[in-house]
Symmetry: C2
Subunit: 436 residues, 2 copies
């Protein structure tokens, strides 16, 4: 073959043709010429697997491409690359493993599968010597996993703080700007198409927890599954929490937090108050952003559209180009490294800081009894503010770092104190330097 002769086309099986899949197909067709030049070979759509053939599909796609048999398509001899954008565990898991066994490179956007069965899927990639790329699985169109996995491969990541779910960020942002409560804001988000009819996966933090597991695994070279992630959603965030945060110059965000300490890693998803001056605080609407603290690189932030068919398709296409180049070169991308094997700490052992806002009786000795509840659990108070209003007062406390279990035990004690009339707001605090 002369060096000028073009390589033979690489053929792509597309599994799924929803909002992401249809965009992937469109871009493959519309930007065929650019992609050919970037890859060094033409990328051809070999077929598209959909659940029901009867559904109307995007204009411009040859009806002959469609099949309802994903497994046969993914293992067909003329297919080089399998792109899975179906989502969910099955049939995605079985089809991907079969495709790997048949020697196909795999690109997937399936965060749930990677967070639940990551070891098995990565194992398949290693066993059969095929590429597995999944940039689109976390934070949609934002290039995040490749930087974490490759650019920071010579650094030590200490902490990842991410806004990785656009639905909950939209809701919390609206609750903040419109001073509205959770239920009405969720309805608004649903009406606008930012939340699904069944919003559970988003508002209960399942989506963010899957992403946190993937991020922690890459950041800390350790196997982390969704089950390792402590998860709290935003359904219990109240207008009072938001107001309390605002009065202290903070804002409430649902964060995916991955931290490494001497004792192990902590991976968790929960609402937290962060200072309004933190780079994540100004991430509004349905945007995503991930803040990374690394030993040498310092503080980094990656910002962009975390969902949506077209941005997610951009990430899928970037992966398709990468695995296509690797196939032509006869090489493989970097394998997942889990050499560190760090223990994942239970939530109770994780060091956190709490913001606690209380309605208390305004009389002598109240502060002493409240402070005593903290002291009994060995929790040190960083800041306290009291405001009288008639015979009542509002008491706002922010703690130093302590074991989460000690902090929650403190709150249980506060609830039962006679001088505490109501616990207005309890929330963890993130994104601030611990005082020296």
């Amino acid at each position: 073959m002369s060096p000028k002769e073009p390589a033979k086309p690489l053929r792509i099986a597309l599994l799924g043709c929803g909002s992401v899949g249809s965009e992937v197909a469109r871009i493959l067709l519309e930007q065929s010429s650019d992609l050919t030049k970037r890859v060094g070979a033409r990328l051809e759509l070999a077929g598209i697997a959909v659940r029901r053939l009867s559904h109307q599909r995007s204009a411009g796609l040859d009806p002959a491409l469609f099949t309802a048999d994903a497994l046969s398509l993914a293992t067909r001899p003329d297919v080089d690359i399998v792109v899975e954008v179906i989502g969910g565990i099955e049939p995605a898991r079985s089809v991907i493993l079969a495709a790997m066994k048949a020697g196909k490179s795999v690109v997937t956007a399936n965060k749930a599968l990677l967070a639940e069965n990551g070891a098995e899927i990565h194992g398949g990639s290693a066993e059969y010597g095929v590429d597995l790329y999944y940039e689109a699985a976390v934070a949609g169109g934002i290039p995040l996993l490749r930087p974490l996995r490759e650019s920071l491969a010579g650094d030590r990541v200490r902490r990842v703080l991410g806004i990785v779910n656009g639905t909950t960020n939209f809701i919390l942002d609206r609750m903040d700007t419109a001073a509205a409560d959770f239920t009405e804001t969720l309805e608004e988000a649903q009406a606008l198409g930012y939340a699904e009819a069944d919003p559970t996966a988003d508002v209960e933090g399942f989506d963010a927890a899957a992403k946190a597991a993937i991020l922690a695994g890459l950041a800390f070279h350790t196997e982390v599954t969704a089950a390792d992630v402590h998860r709290e959603g935003i359904t219990e965030v109240t207008a009072a929490d938001i107001a309390s945060a605002r009065s202290l110059g903070r804002v409430v965000k649902l964060l995916a937090i991955c931290e490494r300490s001497d004792r192990g890693v902590s991976v968790r998803v929960h609402p937290a108050m962060i200072p309004r001056t933190h780079p994540l605080a100004s991430v509004g609407g349905a945007y995503n952003a991930v803040f990374v603290e690394a030993e040498s690189a310092g503080s980094l932030m990656f910002y962009g559209a975390g969902a949506g068919g077209t941005p997610t398709a951009s990430a899928v296409l970037g992966d398709i180009v990468a695995v296509a180049r690797n196939r032509l070169a006869g090489s493989l991308g970097p394998a997942l490294s889990t050499y560190a094997g760090l223990p994942v700490l239970p939530m109770g052992d994780t060091l956190t800081r709490y913001h606690v806002s209380l309605d208390v009786a305004d009389r002598p000795g109240v502060l002493a009894s409240v402070a005593d509840a903290f002291a009994r659990h060995g929790v040190s108070i960083r800041a306290v503010r009291q405001e009288g209003r008639g015979d009542e007062a509002q008491l706002v406390l922010v703690t130093h770092e302590a074991r989460d279990a000690a902090l929650s035990a403190t709150v249980r004690d506060l609830v039962s104190l006679a001088v505490v009339r109501a616990v207005v707001s309890v929330m963890r605090v993130e994104g601030e330097e611990a005082p020296s």
Copy 2:
């Protein structure tokens, strides 16, 4: 060889041992165990080339590693990877080319060399079949080139707006917050170590222009050199410019701008006013951030420390790990693609928008003569604001997009108008959607 037997060590020649080089050496030694596990082979320091052997070097480095002969070290048979952190054109250029010829993988942080002689250096990498990685050349520790080159390989980048020079960002930020003028702020930056004794490369925009050339080349698959970049520094930014920007809810930043239009690409570095609500506006101090607009991915931003020995070393180490993995796999990273070969537009043909602030006589007909100057050059006015102060008035105009040549010709005409007492501020405006 059994599959469990470790690969033989990869040996690294480090050229330069200043603030970046000494950090690279330190991390290679201190994190040797982690790096070995990530690469699959041990990374050994084969030698360190410095200009003068007599200089005191970092503690902990074996004096026997040092040599003043960079060329011999870089081509030694026991060396696999050459890391160039000397900077400047020569001897870096000759040594890198010789190292490539000798089959070494090259990692460099040398923006000037890549912007001036990029085609030759990339040509060497292609000719000799060796890797060339340079993440550290733009925006220090921020993973930016890999995302642009690989993650967005399946997308079309429309615009890159970057704050890529920490010194000038520090100065403009201080001028804004302290309402100080350029000269005194530069002195402060020098005293604090944020600006060099000879600040020319930073304040005249040479550093940013080299980075803009590299970014535009990667973003648009087109060869762009430093000479193609229109360059204006910040030495003529006045306190009046900053105040005028502030009064309109804008802030002044030195931007590296790479834009693609139907007619070609525009690559330029100049101060510009951006809205305070733009994600780049809140990038303060010596931080860097790069805002990327891509057809599918939408708006992305990458933020972090753009300079400094340790952050830059993080980027260099990431590249070392990548080229080391490639060497072990017998593969190469993606080659530079310049297939698009788009024309680089002269500045006069670039479409920009101007902010113009004038002191004018406050009498009938003034606005008409000023508006007429714009109309004569076919420049359409987007917004105008007039404020009377006694017999004078301040007139602030923001234009629609027009050819830069037409805009600057308009300003020349304004200067000569009898009713214009002073041109207070003229600056380009960026980062806003053109009105529909």
